[in-house]
Amino acid sequence: MFRAPTELKPEYDAVIIGGGGHGLAAAYYLAKNHGITNVAVLEKGYIGGGGTGRNTAIVRSNYLTPEGVRFYQSSVELFQDLSRELNLNLFYSERGHFTLAHSPASLRTQRWRAEVNKHLGVDSRVVSPEFIKETVPEIDLKVGGHQAPIHGALYHPPGAIARHDAVAWGYARGADQRGVEIHQKTAVTDIEVRDGEVAGVHTDKGFIKTRKVLSAVAGWTTHTTAMVGIRTPLVIHPLQALVTEPLKPWLNSIVVSASLHLYVSQSSRGELVAGASLDPYELISMRSTLDFAEGLGGHMLDLFPCLGDIKVLRQWAGLCDMTPDFSPIMGTTPIKGFYIDAGWGTWGFKATPISGKTMAFTMANNRDDDLITAFNLSRFQEMELVGEKGAASVGH
C-alpha cells in the first residue's frame, strides 16, 4: 500500500515518532494541508501495532466538557467522510451508543452530558429503560440481580465503530502518496536537544537532523519525554480487551456500562468486541491475565445472559498513558520544536483524525491549534484541568 524506504535521509523538515493512527494522520495532514512533505514517520514495530490496533474501535463525541465535546465532535465529522477522503473502506458503521446508568447519581451525570452535548449540537439524549429494552431486546435490565438495575442511559445515535487498522493504513498510504517516508522497524534511541531546541533524532539506523519532532507514541510517551527531560503527569496502565467467536448479527448498538466496567459491540466480522477498565496498577507491559477474562466474562453474562455458551476467541492488552483529568496532552512544549500528542489513555482511537489535523497545524505554525489549546501540557502548572473522567472511561 505504500513504499518501504530502506535508508534514512540525513535531514528532514519534521520527524514523527510513532506510526500509529495519530502519527500517520499528522503526517498526512502536514503534507496535504500545509505542503510539508519532507517528513519521516519512525515506527519501531509495524504501523498500527500499538494502541491503534488494540482499542475497541469506538467513535463518539458525547463527552462532558465543552472543550472535549468540540474536539471529539470535529473528529466524528472527519471520520464520517474519511473512507471517501482516504479512498479506503474503513467499515465505518454508525450503531448508536448507550452509556447505561445503574443509579440516580449516574443518570444525573448522563443528563449533564446530554445537556452539554445538545448545547454544542451533538445528537445525544437520556433515554428510559423501556427504550433500551426495545432497541437491545437481549439485555437484562436487572443485570442478573448482581448489580443495581438499569435506570436509563445516555443515548448517542452517531456512536460508531470502524476498522481501526484500516485507519492507519489509509493515512499511511495518503501520506506516502504525498511524499512522506514511513520507516517501520526503526527505533528512536534518543532525541538531541541543544539550547532548548530540538536538533535531531538518534535512531538504531543512525542520526537524522531535524528541527521539529512530534512524539505520537501514546503508551510509550514516558520513554520520549525522558529523552528530552520534560515532566508530565503520565503513568502507564495496561487496558485489556477480548473478542468472542463470530456470531450472526444480533447486537447493533454499542453498549457501555461504567458500573460493570464493560463496553461491547459486534464487529463487521460478527465477533463481540469487549473491553474493561484499566488494570488497577501502573505497568508498562502488554501481558494478558485470566483475572481480566473471568471478570469481564462474568459482567457480560450479567448484561447478556444469552451469551452463556459463547467462547472467547482471543484476548490482548494495550498500553494507556493516563492523565489525571482524562484529557489528552497536546501541542507545543517548553522545548522548541518538540511537540507532544499524548495522554491518550483509553480515548485515543476516536480522536485519530482530529489529532492528526490539529497537530499538523501546530507543527506547521509553531502554535497550538485553537481546538487543542485547553489540552496543552502547561494546564497542570496553571491548575486548569479539563475533567473528562465522567465521560472518557469506565473505570471509576
Binding site: 514516558t222 519525554t225 508530565t232 503527569p233 502507564i236 508498562i284 485470566l290 497542570f380 502548572q381
Partner: protein
C-alpha cells in the same frame, strides 16, 4: 494468579491489595514555589524502571512499601514504612 508478599501477612493474592502510587516526598507548602507545587501535585515519574511504591493489604489494613519493576511487574522487595534497612 499473582502473589504479593505482604510484610505482615506473607504471600497473598493480588486481589487483596490496592496500589497506592509511587512514594514521593512532599515539598514544604510554606516555602515551595507554585511551579514546584503543581509539579508535586500532578507530575509523575512514569518512565520505565524500578520504583518504590505504596501498596495496601485491604483485609488487614496494612500500608507498606514495595520495590517493583514497572516493566516486568517483579516485586523485588516489600517492607513496612521506616523499616527499609532492618534485616528480618
Amino acid at each position: 494468579m499473582k502473589i504479593i508478599d505482604c510484610p505482615v501477612n506473607g504471600p497473598r493474592p493480588l486481589q487483596e491489595f490496592h496500589f497506592g502510587g509511587e512514594v514521593r516526598d512532599m515539598p514544604n507548602p510554606d516555602s515551595v514555589t507554585d511551579e514546584e507545587w503543581s509539579g508535586y501535585v500532578f507530575h509523575r515519574r512514569g518512565e520505565p524502571g524500578l520504583k518504590k511504591e505504596w501498596w495496601y493489604h485491604v483485609p488487614s489494613g496494612t500500608w507498606f512499601i514495595a520495590e517493583r519493576d514497572n516493566r516486568s511487574d517483579e516485586f523485588v522487595r516489600t517492607y513496612l514504612y521506616g523499616s527499609e534497612n532492618v534485616d528480618d
